[in-house]
Every structure is written in C-alpha cells, then in structure tokens.
Amino acid sequence: MTTDPPVLSLRGITHSFGAVRALIDVDLDVHAREVVAVVGDNGAGKSTLVAVMAGALVPDAGEVVVDGQEVRLSSPGLARQLGIATVFQDLALCEDLDVVENLFLGQELRRGVLLDEVGMEHEAWNLLGKLAARVPSLRAATSTLSGGQRQAVAIARALLGEPRVLVLDEPTAALGVTQTAEVLTLIERVRDRGYGVVLVSQNMADVQAVADRVVVLRRGRLNGEFDAETARYEDIIAAVTGASPPRGAGGGSS
C-alpha cells in the first residue's frame, strides 16, 4: 500500500475516564492519499480516539506524531493548525446561516472592517466545485439542505484550512441510501486530492466501499487490522464482536 511515512501517527494511546479504560495502547497510522476506517461496537473507544485526534482530549499516555514530529494536541485549534481537521457527528453547523456563512464560520474573509461576501462566495464556489459537491444554492439556509449536503458543507469547511488529515466521525450515521452514496463519493474525492482520511464508522458497507485499510477497536484495544481489498466481511465482524481470536495478534499497525 503506501510506503511514504505516515502523516499522522498515534503511538500507545491510553486513556481512562475514572475506572473506565476507554483506550488501551492504541496505535494508528494515517498516510496521505488513503482512507483508514476505524470500526468498532458501541463503547469500543472510537469517540475517544476521535477526541484525541481532534485535540479535544489529551490522553493519559501515548504520543502523537505529525510529520515525524512529536506533538501535543492540547486544543482543537492547535490540532487544526497542525493540519488535522475533524468533522464531528453533529457537524457543528449553524442552521439559520447559509452555506457560505457556514463554510467561513469563525474565519470570515474581510475587506477592511466589512466582510468580503464576494470573496467568500467565490472561494466557496471553488471549494465546492473541486469536491463536485452539490448544494441547491450557496445562499440557502443550511436548514434547507439534506443530510448529505450538510455533511458536504461540513467536510468542505474542514478542508478550507488546507489540512493534511481529515477525521470524519460517523459521517453517514443519519443518512439515507442516496445521501450515503454521495458522501462516500465525496470521501473518495477528498482522498484522491491527497488528503489522509480517518473514517470512523459502525457501518461495514460504507467502510468496505471506501476504506483502504480497516482498523478494529474492541473494548479500547486494537483488535485487528485489515486490508480492505482482501479482507472478508466476516473476519472484520468477528474482530468487532470478538467472536474469534484477534487476527494478527500484534494487531497494531506496524
């Protein structure tokens, strides 16, 4: 698969919430131009892992390496600066604001003291055009968009800061069949533009459709890593549910 050094690398990440061990010695590598799926059952530690990558949570132990440099992701802003953009499950959009306003939320372009609406709309065209994302109107309130279109807006916004890695938390959880397909196509386009994508999902069909590698979390531990091309659906499910002994017992990415 990819031989370049990973863009983002997690080493021995361990974190507890009180007596609950949410993550135990988890390793994860993300390379440019690949989709790594992180799957697991409820409570497997997926959300905690997302929080660590997003900079929303500093783990008890373990290191985060970005571009070969060990870093401390102590805030979401810092994570973004280091090129890790996260789209949370709730998308963090403002429903009453329109597409352009949401894309530039908190990072508006200005001309003098006034907002540069023309500039922002121009950028929005370019950005959505690159992703070939369809929205009915750039000036429609986000509340009028479908779930898939909102996901596209949230992803486009995450890409605005030119990140290296895009972390997507359950991007298809609330979507219908067509919209799921749109979002998956979008994820492939994002990968093909050279970004590393971490896709956190519970949906095996989605994962098999777009992922290059599948990493399984079970009860906070890595419980197998699969090549999405060759892995059998049953094996992944077995690793998720613990129905069989973990394959490749050293489990972790290399």
């Binding site: 998308l91 403002c94 609406e117 023309v118 055009g129 109107s137």
Partner: protein, 399 residues
C-alpha cells in the same frame, strides 16, 4: 463558469444566489399587514392617513423603535431582555434629576444615563455568561431593581419636569428636517444604494459569480426611491421628518450594516442559531453575549432619555406598564425570531410601525387602552405563532 455548471445550479435564476438574500417570504407579510391595517383604519376614520396623524405616528414610533432595536439584538443571540422598559424609565429619571436637581450639564446627564444603561446590560451579560443564570430571570430581576432605582432617583415628588427650552426637549419635540435637507438625504440614500449595488455587481462579475441583471438593480433602486421619497414628501406636507425619527432610522441602518457585514454581526446570528457550533468555530461567545445585552440596555436608556424629552418630564410612569412587552412584541411582529439566529435590524422599524399604527388607529376611534391591549396582544400571539410554526416546519424538513 464551468464550475458553476458542474455544481448543477440553474443559472436562469441567479438572484437566488445573490447576496441580497430574500429568504422565504421575508418581510412581505408584515408589509401587507401594515397596508391592511392602514386601509381598515382609514375606512373607519378619514383622519388616519392624514399627514398630521402620520407625523405623530412616526414620532411615537421613534422611542419605542429604539427600544425594539435593542430587543432585536438580544433576541438575535437567542436571549431576552424583559427590563428594557424599566431601564428606559430609570434613564429618563437620571437625565431629569441630574440636569434639573444636580445641575449637571444636559449632555453629561444624557451620557451618564446611557452609560448606566450599558453597565446594567454588561451586568446581565456577566451573570449570564459566567454564572449561567437564564436571561429572563436576570432581566426580570433587573426590571425590579431598575423600577426601584427609578422611584428612588425621582425622590418624593415622583416627577421632574424639563424646561421647554432645553435642547433635549427641542430636539425631540420641535426639530424637523428642513424639506430641502430631507430630499437631499433621500437622494443621497438612493444614489448610495445604487452605487454600492453596482459596485458589488462589478466585483461579482470579476469574481465570475452569478449576477443580477443591471435592469433589476435599477428597478430595485427605483423601488427604493419610491418607498423612501413618497413617505418623506407626504410627511413634508405637514411638519415633516422629526429629528428623532431620523436618529431612529439612522441607528437601524448602522445596526443593519453591523449585523450583516461585520464579524460581530455574523457571530451574533451564529450564536443565536447554535451556540455550540459558534463556540467551536472560535467566536468569542461570552464577549458577544455581553455586547448584545449591553447594546440592548444602552439603546433602552437612550430611548428613555428621548421619551423624557418628548414628555418634557420624567415620572414614575415613564417606561412602565406595557412598554417592555410592546418593544418585544414589535421585534417579533417585525420578523425577528424569539428562538434566536433569525431577524434583522429593520424588523424594529416594521414591527413598531404595526404596533403604533394599531395604537394610533384605535385612539382615533376613541377606543380606550383596554382595546389597544387586546388587539396588540392578539397581533403578538399571531406573530409568535407564525414564528414558532415556521421554525417547526424548518425543523421537520431539516431532520
């Protein structure tokens, strides 16, 4: 333009993507309601649409309108201020007592009153953002405190008169724009509008964005010219445009630009729409809340100062009874949502015109205050229902 085609947008309707956003019906229902109200009252009493009555109506609208503008700001961030009436009463008392009894220069008294209002609002904002007390409780407490302070400031007499020759009273009662000046202002507004629209259109063309046809820009400018010039001409048949009215409209125009075209305004709407998203987007949420509360009470205090001028007195009744609810009702009737995130500065103008038109019409019909309360209450209920239903509908299409 290829990007545009890729996006599958219909270029036949470019104005739908314009920065002039006409979402849903916009303000059309309120304008229609205003026309209906005017026609009904005109049919019942021929004096309603007389220039004299309309001049009075605009003067009455100005103080309530400034209160309403403040309420709009607080509603936009999804909060409420129930104390605007009381704060305006307190400010009126401070101006009158400071000027007449303490011997402060009038301008100092005015500034002290407005600063006091802003400080109160900053206090609300502090309690709300730091301690998480719900705004309706804080401002209800603030209402009681302000009413109490108002009575104490006024002292034993309970009423302080301002001399007719003071500039505050002259400004609010007798100052009108000279007709020539008023037409120059109208002309400047229309030309300024057209110029900014054409400039924006050129920038959009350069950026290869969809533009409206030039003819449409001209048509809109012409419409604006009619909408502004005709009322000014009609009011000029009588006393004309009151200085206070011009101040009100000017404040609304400034607030409109701040809300639509600055980061602060964008953060106001974002916070009212979804405060968690706004916080994650990096807006200084606490400071924005504080600014909204402080701007609201500062405007309320200014309205109180002006109403003291208009009455040439401050008494215990200033800003009392239904002032609060009228201002909140006007904001909602004008189209600002009670649920935050949606609304515009101009809703203060439309809403206050509806309320004052009803009030003025009923007065002409010799109806007493009770009828005015009932009708205003019903109109408010209608406006809030429309707001709630439209919010519910958006909610169902959204999820």
């Amino acid at each position: 333009m290829s990007a545009i085609n890729q996006l599958g947008l219909t270029r036949s309707a470019p104005w739908q993507q314009g920065v002039w956003r006409d979402r849903g019906l916009g303000s059309a229902p309120v304008v229609v309601a205003l026309v209906v109200i005017a026609l009904v009252f005109q049919a019942l009493n021929g004096a309603f649409l007389s220039p004299d009555n309309l001049v009075n109506l605009t003067l009455q609208s100005a103080t309530t309108g400034i209160l309403t503008l403040g309420v709009v700001l607080v509603l936009l961030v999804g909060q409420i201020d129930l104390s605007v009436g009381a704060v305006s009463g307190l400010a009126a008392a401070v101006v009158a007592v400071g000027f007449m009894q303490q011997g402060w220069p009038l301008i100092v008294a005015v500034l002290v009153a407005v600063a006091l209002g802003a400080a109160l609002g900053a206090g609300y904002g502090w309690l709300f953002t730091r301690l998480g007390v719900p705004s309706f409780v804080i401002t209800l407490a603030g209402l009681l405190v302000a009413v109490g302070l108002q009575v104490q400031v006024l002292g034993d007499t309970g009423s302080v008169n301002l001399p007719y020759e003071s500039w505050l009273v002259r400004f609010t009662q007798q100052t009108f724009l000279h007709p020539v000046v008023s037409y120059v202002v109208v002309g400047a507004v229309v030309v300024g509008y057209a110029a900014s629209r054409l400039q924006e259109r050129r920038r959009r063309e350069l950026a290869q964005l969809p533009t409206r046809p030039a003819a449409e820009v001209l048509a809109r400018t012409a419409l604006l010219a009619v909408v502004v010039a005709v009322p000014v001409w009609y009011l000029n048949l009588n006393r004309g445009l009151g200085a206070m009215v011009v101040l009100f409209i000017g404040l609304v125009a400034v607030a409109d630009v701040l809300l639509r075209r600055t980061r602060w305004g964008r953060s106001m709407r974002a916070i009212g729409s979804n405060v968690h998203s706004a916080r994650r987007a990096g807006y200084p949420v606490r400071r924005v809340y504080m600014s909204a509360f402080a701007a609201c009470t500062a405007l309320a205090a200014l309205a109180g100062v002006l109403s003291a001028g208009r009455l040439a007195a401050a008494n215990q009744g200033t800003g009392g009874s239904d002032t609060n609810l009228t201002a909140i009702a006007a904001a909602v009737i004008g189209g600002t949502s009670l649920f935050g995130g949606r609304g515009s500065a101009w809703s203060a103008v439309l809403g206050v015109l509806v309320i004052q038109a009803i009030s003025s019409g009923l007065t002409l019909l010799n109806a007493d205050g009770s009828a005015r309360y009932i009708v205003t209450g019903l109109v408010l209920a209608l406006a809030v229902t429309v707001d709630a239903v439209s919010r519910r509908d958006r909610g169902t299409t959204a999820r």
